[in-house]
Subunit: 448 residues, 4 copies
């Protein structure tokens, strides 16, 4: 009988995808992974968390993104095998025996994500990457069983790709580097679903110039502008979509809402009776992998829904602001010189009756669009290198003024968040002076 | 002070939409309706229910569809006002005083939808259109307050558009006819998100030929092919997407799962303790509007999630099949001559140990892509009429062979649904004969 | 040394194409054919002739269409080789040794087209298909040399595919049948460039269900709706784009202009002195292949440009109408009962001073969107057949009501063309009665 | 009777455009201009000249671009009139009486282009902008008559917009600035037709933030990233498309071909007999506007076609290289230090038998993607300014690191062009040493 890892579907299975057209599944292993319960669960977790409160089209799930990363990886493997097989170039070539490792790692790279990961992790100290590894390597999961069927040790192999310590750097960099299948899919996919064109770059052309070499992945120098364009698109998506102040205003409400729930439970462990059983292990910092796998966006929203009727005024108010989309407003400030002002305004928010802990927040969103190697840094990112026709390598920012202008520098902003009422006389009619004072520091969207 | 209904936003508010580019909101009333809690709730209800189990991109919500219907209606109003104002043509022209009625009705036409509406209504006897009317006209809702602020009786006006008995047929047909803003948006939107091109038709051209007349909406005869193309696209979406057997295989599991839950509760009202409080009013057929507004996709999924650990084997198995996407398989049959065979096969499914009530189903999906007026029918659909340059009217199917071929006839199929195990020897190794027998009746996807 | 036919480019050559993304060239033979002078000449011949006078975006050349047909054929070969190789299915499978034949025939299928082919052929009795064969098989062409380098007799092989008598029906039907690479490319390409969405169909899905069988090409029955949609798109493009009355109004001017030029030369062979040397062989019906290859759109337009200053009033007027886009207007009529009226109106056109031969025309454009096999017809088209899972075949229109409604029936219209002046009082102020009379027969775009 | 300038079409005339969807014409004046012979002539002149030899889809004409510039201008006027009318803001607002001036100037801004303008102007000293002004202001043109019908002096008004000295800077900058309707259309259009995605930017969003102010056009500061993205797209199109070495390799052949033709005529004015009458006035530097209007791409190609058979070996060889697309190859060099090497290699090209004058060339293509105001420069470009909510203005590059990295610096390269034969041993078998020597200086596409 054909070994499991070599079982190919008699007819390719196809998933219609609006971003890539069709996603082709050829291995029985991949189909089984997609059908596993841990993977299907990704259908119930939005890719973009609170971003869909700003861009209503962005309601797609981590399920569709994971399929997309798989598909881009599959295309790269095809290209590498056709054009740069290790049989012809033993030093820089691609060994197609690595294909199944790459495909599984691509498909599963995000399987450990939970609901509103970023916020949830901040509150409960979980880590989606650790959960990804745990799902892959824990004997109780369906995914482990499938991978282990391929061969003993195979789950651990996939986990090592996720952890970036797999021995083949080409596989690692396909899935995780500054220009990898993960980022390429999410930029295109988030752009497609939100309807924001900034994230669009020329995948076809990038796939024409990508190539393996002994230390990982590189690009033909002739494709420099395509890579440059990808870096700029990535930067634009961060500036325009991922860091949008309204989404962050919702994220802060979510954060404070979960924090308040945890606080109430910690104050009195019978507070919620049996109404929120699936969150209890996290309130108590005592959870299993299985507890984690029970969670999804709908579970949290259902609990928030019930909290609408809770007697705690902060809990029910924040729940209402979240479910009914009443984001905190915000203003930029300069962290180096506006500290006193921020402090003063926070006090003012307290004065008019809001609990400062739950109704103010400072949020800082910065991204490093691209980084080159810097010897002084402990943890360096894999830099992007271009290969000339003669095989010589150059780092991207040395040949692109655009990339150089973005490289090594973070971009983003620091913002003070606060209830919209602080800007409205009619909402706080008893505190006209405070509102006026608050408004007087708010100018062109910045604090002054 | 400007009356509420005439309050325009100083700068238009824009929602970026991948289907229409931008959605423009000009009235304060519309912005307030969008921000109401009943409308925001639509973010938590998928437009396509179980279809996203087949086309993974189709995860968009009824929120985005409702905005889309609003936007198409707004565009139609603009066109009518510019080209066919009642001031110039008192008989057939458009009275722009109706604009706000049309916009509100368009935005709210689906606000009464609940989670997995089609299935839910089948089990619990609810009706989303009645809920739409209730939300619009019940004093406890935010939507009612907003509409009532426009003027006394305004909520009832909007409700009458929903019920199709509003006095102005142009407004009614914009929102609800065989070619209305609702259908136009969902075809384009569902096509965009699923990545299925069949649903694409030429909205730009339809908007160029649409026009008002005294009995409602018509189209310039020169645009016949554009309208024809829309009818064909609609037909294709039904055949290819909405009636897809895999989605229906999931819908049946959902149906039986809810039915089983209701049954268990009805047998023993303490069965679920306090685990599923939001469903209880529906199990007991004793619900309020507020109970209904608490529901969304996430609530149902959360309960299914908990049912995974329930001791009832049918309940936990069906919950697992639903959450982990294990659709029932199906085969077409001819309802006129295959009744005995269907009966026989259902018995066989019982024989191998499945409870027939929950593990078999007959599902019939038929659509009437287009219908003309038929005097013998009680309830006729508004037929599509074309207007010649001289003002004479003709019914669409008389000038289109394509439409004539689809008109007045339902398209779809009858299917028997059953567990996938019935086709797999290895799953039911104790029942080899039964499985063989079952398979022998399964040929080219049909029962024979 | 590697035989010429097996020489593959070390790195694939890629042509960026807006319709197909990238067009991949792998064989040296194909690259050489593209670079031949006979093929490069196609850059100077518009795909859509006078259609760009109606849809200004449709200015693409036969060069880009030919590359597109090649690319679709290449994709089909890849699919056939991967899924249905003759090695696994000796009866119905695909023999990949036929690949180069298919690719060359696809690339060259239109190489014999000249400027404004349809019109030109009508006037001068040329035939683009015969020229295609001549270019392929004549020792003086570069294309012949390239093909002959592959192997002796290879040019003749390609020619036989063009003539549809090649021994392998799969190859013939790929290039030429009711659903072939040629039609698939031109529908998509013409739709893309004109901006008309009617022509869009789901190529991805068609490529998923297309398959070879012993008598040619078939489609999996599961893909029926995709094929159906293609037929409808084709019909819509004919109705909306290819038969557009304005383009036909320009085509008639072109026709009459060339006819007048030929007439003047035939009356007096020194009439044009040496001003139009490249047309002379055609005026004199005495041309060589090389004479034909000298022609392109620009040559004809250049001559028309010079005719603007010619002393013959009909010649210079028609040249001006053509270059400056003054199409004849038209009205539909019923050929069975309106003959007398058409006659009468033509007389009227003569009465006001236009030469009837050059200023009136009847133009009939009919298309048969799809045809099934009809024993009584001499020359049958290859019908489209669907293959069930068990290998049984059915003809398309038996399973599609839409296709059945279009099948076997021509669609289009008969029109009388005339100068726009006939509808304008101010242009023909001396003939008010005639213009009034003419107008009185013109109603809703038809003659009455 | 309604004055000509206020005559609106009873029903808007619509041109289907693949880039903008529909182009709306409302004024009779605009429709008449489009129908004029000088404007229709633009159909026969490709927008991208020799670029379609590299990107075969780029075959669109200046006609479609001109319509596109008109349409973007029309949209801007609509937006300005709705949101920023001078009636509400007498200082910064838009005066809609300027609309017709803006629309006419937008439509006509390129009407003076001739065939392969860039090259043609280099050889014959013509200037398309001067011809644009001449066409608009010369009494013999149809365009002049139409404009003059609007009101006396109107042609001169339009001409002054073209010359950028019109008194209203808003109108001037709409048509001509660093971010104007002209550039916006050609980037989108060229990207669409070539299939290159680099040129795509978010027009919808730019139109949402563009606004008038007293000194011209500005953008709301909130739209900074949209403007930034436009600048980057523009840069990418120059780097990737407009400066493509293959297109430049064709342009040089064209240049030398025309130069050779002119030389032969100047040596002997009877050389071409009467074969190339339309070029003669330019060979003799003695042309009228009418002579210029006779020219188009097809005329030049037709003459090249005849030159294929000319006895002058340089003329017929270059004609063949042009028509049959045999571009010169090229290599980058550093103009500051490689002069001697370039000299040496040119000599080598002469040594093997090519006439250096016609078979070598240095071509330098540089673009300044964006420039800010620099007091030391004589002729400054209008810089792009952003407007904060409080009305304060900032120059773009001060708030965008990306733009700053491109600003004030030219981007492009210097290249030596030469016949492909110089790199091929087999083509020049008698000059093995020279070819080897030549090749030895060619490394990674650069001279060393």
């Amino acid at each position: 009988m054909t070994p499991y890892k070599d079982q190919f579907l008699p007819i390719e299975k196809v998933f219609r995808d609006p971003v890539h057209g069709d996603i082709y599944v050829e291995h029985q292993v991949i189909l089984d992974l997609i059908n596993s319960r841990e993977f299907q669960r990704l259908r119930r977790i939005k890719q973009l968390g609170t971003t869909s409160f700003t861009f209503h089209g962005g309601e797609h799930s981590r399920f569709s993104h994971s399929l997309g990363v798989y598909e881009i990886t599959r295309k790269i493997c095809d290209l590498f095998q056709r054009n740069y097989p290790v049989e012809e170039d033993p030093i820089n070539g691609w060994d197609d025996n690595e294909r199944l490792v790459a495909l599984c790692a691509a498909l599963l790279h995000d399987v450990g994500h939970g609901p509103y990961s970023h916020t949830f992790e901040g509150i409960f100290g979980t880590d989606h990457e650790e959960f990804t590894v745990a799902i892959i390597t824990s004997p109780e999961t369906e995914i482990f069983s499938i991978l282990n069927n391929v061969e003993a040790g195979f789950p651990e192999k996939i986990a090592s790709v996720i952890r970036k310590d797999y021995q083949n750097p080409q596989v690692v960099q396909m899935i995780s580097s500054q220009i990898d299948a993960d980022r390429m899919d999410y930029l295109l996919r988030d752009a497609y679903f939100t309807g924001i064109e900034y994230g669009t770059f020329d995948l076809t052309r990038i796939l024409r110039v990508i190539r393996p070499y002994k230390d990982g992945i590189t690009f033909n120098a002739s494709g420099m502008h395509a890579v440059e364009d990808y870096i700029v698109s990535r930067y634009q998506m961060y500036m325009q979509v991922y860091f949008h102040p309204v989404s962050r205003g919702m994220e802060i409400i979510l954060n404070h809402l979960l924090k308040r729930g945890a606080y109430l439970h910690q104050e009195d462990s019978s507070y919620f009776h049996d109404q929120t059983p699936l969150l209890r292990p996290f309130f108590e910092d005592n959870y299993t992998l299985n507890d984690y796998l029970k969670l999804d966006d709908g579970v949290l929203n259902t609990y928030f829904n019930m909290w609408l009727d809770d007697s705690d005024p902060i809990l029910n108010d924040l729940a209402s602001r979240f479910l009914n989309r009443k984001p905190f407003k915000s203003a930029r400030f300069n962290p180096e010189k506006d500290q006193a002002l921020v402090e003063e305004l926070s006090e003012l928010i307290g004065t008019v009756g809001f609990d400062k802990t739950y109704y103010t927040a400072i949020n800082t969103s910065y991204d490093l669009p691209y980084d080159f190697y810097r010897p002084e840094k402990e943890k360096n990112r894999t830099q992007i290198v271009l290969m000339e026709k003669d095989g010589s390598l150059t780092e991207l920012s040395t040949s692109s003024a655009l990339v150089a202008s973005l490289a090594g520098q973070t971009h983003g902003d620091d913002r003070l968040f606060f209830p919209r009422e602080m800007l409205e006389q009619e909402s706080l009619s008893l505190f006209q002076n405070e509102v006026s004072l608050f408004n007087s520091h708010f100018h062109n969207g910045k604090l002054i």
